[in-house]
């Protein structure tokens, strides 16, 4: 991107992941729950875009395990899909010019779509199929919240333009 990005403090990535878990657990009325964005997946995508060298796929796996515990889903379901999120984001990254919002949207759409699809497959295979199209609402809410959420996450790092150093 040309700009040098560094973490605001050590453990900023972990802090942002914990922050996203707080958002995940925030009590919502049932009608809103369908629109809850995939906070944790969005956080990992954000770090993949900003600091692809710092992001750890193992951290994503551990975060996925915790999602499974919070959601009461089968252990390993979200762990697998989170690993896929990070892997896909890192692989798609060089193919897109990521500073353009439109390209970011394309990446998030693809990655989150795969994430939800994998989850849906596993849920269907283990007999807890949501069986409603509303399952996909979360994809659109995630895309809608993305500009705002990426702005919030930008507090976790310092971004210095090349020209600042002169």
């Amino acid at each position: 991107m040309g700009n040098s990005v560094s973490l605001r403090f050590t453990g900023a990535i972990i802090a942002s992941v914990i922050f996203s878990f707080l958002l995940l657990l925030l009590p919502l009325p049932d009608e809103w729950l369908l629109w809850r964005p995939e906070w944790i997946a969005l956080t990992f995508i954000y770090w993949c875009l900003k600091l692809p060298k710092k992001i750890s796929i193992v951290l994503a796996w551990i975060a996925g395990l915790f999602i499974d515990v919070f959601h009461g889903s089968i252990l390993g379901q979200h762990a697998l899909s989170m690993v896929i999120v990070v892997f896909m984001s890192l692989r798609l990254l060089p193919r897109l010019s990521i500073s353009i919002l439109w390209h970011q949207y394309a990446l998030i759409f693809l990655v989150l779509g795969t994430y939800l699809l994998i989850n849906l497959w596993i849920m269907a295979a283990t007999g807890s199929n949501p069986a409603t199209w509303q399952y996909w609402l979360t994809l659109f809410s995630s895309l809608l919240i993305w500009p705002l959420y990426s702005w919030v996450l930008s507090f976790f790092h310092i971004e210095r333009s090349r020209f600042d150093e002169f």
Binding site: L25, L34, H71, G72, L80
Partner: protein, 319 residues
């Protein structure tokens, strides 16, 4: 980074990806088929409990403050009402004790197994949101309070659900409306209707009034399955738990029929019912011991049970 494939980060990523994906797949298979991963889940739940507690805390504090700054007159009125209800219940309880002791005496004469009352524990539902398509909540009591997996949870006098998984200080409760949940129920209203009716034939016909109340995954909505097309059922009928399957105690209200659809030619009706527990409002639930106490009581001699009850009676009379 700290791995040996440092010269080839892409290859290292692929290697890690394949490794973690296969671990996940293995874990999933074991979690689905077996119980050996339950300790892992319990440990992770224990780690996450402070987190849930922290999220719950501001909402809890808010409730507390609202209560605290409630108007005095309103509080006093509420207090009066509660006191009168309490008096009513004390009187009823008195009657219950005499009936219970009479019941035990009669059962003893019949050489039957003594039937024992139930024990209850109040627990609080943590206000944290869970999986969108599952109906599970976390409560603030766990194995340390002798709760166990499969234990029945009540909300007031209605059934709330059962414990799905347990950790030392918390438990996951599967609500009645979870799509994986089913409970056998019987129509209570139809019995009353039959008592009133003079027609002898309908009075004796007692078949097929049971149904399976299956969760829909939607809020407060259950589907009653296996209700035959010729069944006597009306909108507003109340279904209570039947006690079949030995998990739920019999006679607890479950749901009220909200819609009945029938396509001619089908052998079953499509009946939807609203739960009597409002899952969006319930913040406090009761854990109930009924199977366990029954088992414990079987070991106890009926004699000592009688003595105990007499002692109880005396103490209540003194009061």
């Amino acid at each position: 980074m700290n791995d040996i494939f440092d010269h080839n980060p892409q290859g290292s990523l692929l290697f890690k990806f394949i490794l973690l994906a296969s671990i996940s797949a293995t874990v999933m298979v074991f979690d689905y088929r077996d119980t050996i991963l339950h300790p892992v889940r319990t440990t992770l739940t224990m780690i996450t409990y402070p987190f849930k507690y922290a999220v719950n805390l501001p909402f809890d504090t808010y409730d507390y403050l609202v209560d605290y700054f409630n108007e005095h007159s309103k509080m006093a009125a509420e207090n009066r009402q509660l006191r009168s209800t309490l008096d009513l219940y004390v009187a009823r309880n008195q009657k219950y004790h005499s009936i219970a002791s009479e019941n035990i005496r009669l059962r003893k004469q019949l050489n039957a197994i003594p039937k024992i009352g139930e024990e209850l524990l109040l627990a609080q539902v943590l206000s944290v949101s869970g999986n969108t398509f599952r109906r599970k909540v976390t409560i603030n009591r766990g194995a340390n309070d002798h709760l166990y997996t499969g234990q029945v949870i009540l909300a007031g006098k209605n059934i709330y659900g059962q414990i799905d998984s347990i950790a030392p200080d918390s438990a996951e409760v599967m609500q009645l409306t979870d799509s994986d949940h089913a409970i056998h129920v019987v129509n209570q209203t139809v019995l009353k209707r039959r008592e009133k009716s003079t027609d002898e034939e309908t009075k004796t016909k007692d078949q097929g009034r049971g149904a399976l109340a299956v969760g829909t995954g939607k809020t407060n909505l259950l589907e009653l399955r296996n209700i035959e097309a010729n069944m006597d059922i009306k909108k507003g009928d109340i279904y209570v738990s039947s006690g079949l399957g030995k998990l739920y105690p019999p006679g607890y209200p479950v749901a009220i029929v909200s819609s009945i659809e029938y396509n001619s030619g089908d052998s079953f009706m499509k009946v939807m019912a609203r739960t009597l527990t409002d899952f969006t409002q319930t913040r406090e639930v009761l854990a109930i011991w009924h199977n366990k106490t029954m088992m414990d009581a079987n070991q106890e001699e009926p004699e000592s049970q009688l003595k105990k009850n007499k002692a109880n009676e005396k103490s209540t009379l003194k009061k």
